[in-house]
């Protein structure tokens, strides 16, 4: 009974993610081929790196005769935020087997992490079945979209004309707002927002993500320390 409910809940959590990420899956495939990838290479990247819109940060480097290790380092840098996700979700999945964790964390993309955190917040069990019922449909559609985009090119000629190019920031804003009941939410959002904007202007993408996130997390740690010190 619980298993059935977890599967339904998981798929329900996946649907909005699939809708919001859909255009970007197609766009990635199309851009990858534009940058000299074969269809197979585009699908390989969606299937193995599996990092949503951050896959697009990497692909324009490939054509530019940049040293391979530098491209790999860039992919590592833009995805470094996942270290934080894995630390957080790891604590809430102590009841999983080791194998489940090693397999499950492969699917730990931004929306998967947000949905897992929301699930844990409601007090419902963060079961492996739920996690994979959300993660697997998102993964399969993402890889399929990469293939379709790579094969048929840009299905939508000018995404900006339909506002599609700006759906992802709106979607991520929705995820941010979903956590507004958490302690210190506002100061964390303000610090991360300002520092990421500053880092974007001064250091550049993709470093603004890690720098901004680190600032927000440190702000939360600093605030949490205060009442404790006052009590000592």
């Amino acid at each position: 009974m619980y298993i059935k409910r977890d599967i339904v809940d998981g798929i329900k959590a996946a649907l909005p993610v699939i809708l919001a990420a859909g255009p970007f899956g197609l766009l990635f495939g199309a851009l990858a081929v534009d940058n000299g990838f074969t269809v197979g290479e585009a699908v390989l990247m969606s299937a193995t790196v599996y990092a949503g819109a951050s896959q697009m940060v990497g692909i324009d480097l490939f054509g530019d005769k940049i040293a391979p290790w530098l491209i790999v380092l860039s992919i590592f840098a833009v995805n470094f935020r996942h270290v934080l996700y894995s630390a957080v979700v790891g604590r809430k999945t102590a009841h999983w087997s080791k194998l489940q964790r090693y397999a499950g964390f492969f699917f730990l993309i931004d929306p998967q992490f947000a949905e897992a955190e929301k699930r844990a917040e409601t007090g419902k069990p963060l079961s492996f079945i739920w996690y994979m019922s959300a993660g697997f449909p998102i993964y399969v559609t993402w890889v399929a979209e990469g293939y379709l985009g790579a094969t048929f090119g840009k299905l939508v000629d000018n995404p900006a004309a339909y506002g599609i190019d700006f759906l992802l920031p709106v979607y991520f804003l929705g995820l941010v707002m979903g956590f507004r009941k958490r302690p210190n939410w506002l100061p964390v959002v303000i610090v991360s927002g300002i520092v990421s904007v500053g880092a974007y202007a001064l250091v550049g993408s993709p470093w603004h993500v890690s720098i901004g996130a680190l600032a927000g997390v440190l702000a939360a740690a600093a605030i949490a320390g205060k009442p404790e010190e006052a009590a000592e």
């Binding site: 919001a20 000299g36 990838f37 197979g40 290479e41 390989l44 990247m45 193995t48 599996y50 990092a51 391979p68 790999v72 590592f76 995805n79 470094f80 996942h82 270290v83 934080l84 996700y85 894995s86 630390a87 957080v88 790891g90 964790r101 964390f105 730990l108 947000a114 955190e117 900006a160 506002g163 700006f166 759906l167 920031p169 709106v170 995820l175 941010v176 707002m177 979903g178 956590f179 958490r182 302690p183 210190n184 964390v188 991360s192 927002g193 300002i194 990421s196 904007v197 974007y200 993408s205 993500v209 901004g212 996130a213 680190l214 927000g216 997390v217 939360a220 740690a221 949490a224 404790e228």
Partner: protein, 100 residues
Amino acid sequence: MELSTTAWIILAGALATYLTRIGGHLVLSRFPSIHPRVEAALNAVPAAVLTTLVAPAAVFTGPAETATIIVAFIAAFYMPAMAMFAVGWVAVLAFRAIIG
């Protein structure tokens, strides 16, 4: 089958990405107890990271997009996430038509 240079770079990038996805857990699980500051920091991770994916896009894309984020931000207080997503979509189309 011969793998292309691109394919090798992709596979190395995949490995690097996977390491970030298990790394945080592998490091943190070595500590038996968690300091309250670390606890607070971990609780802040969703807001801290996801904000960095929004803020630069809100500031640097253009006035229509900045206005969109403001509208979507206010809308989020009054409706569920999917409805706010729809409002944001309509808003970006409307603002681009009006202010470009």
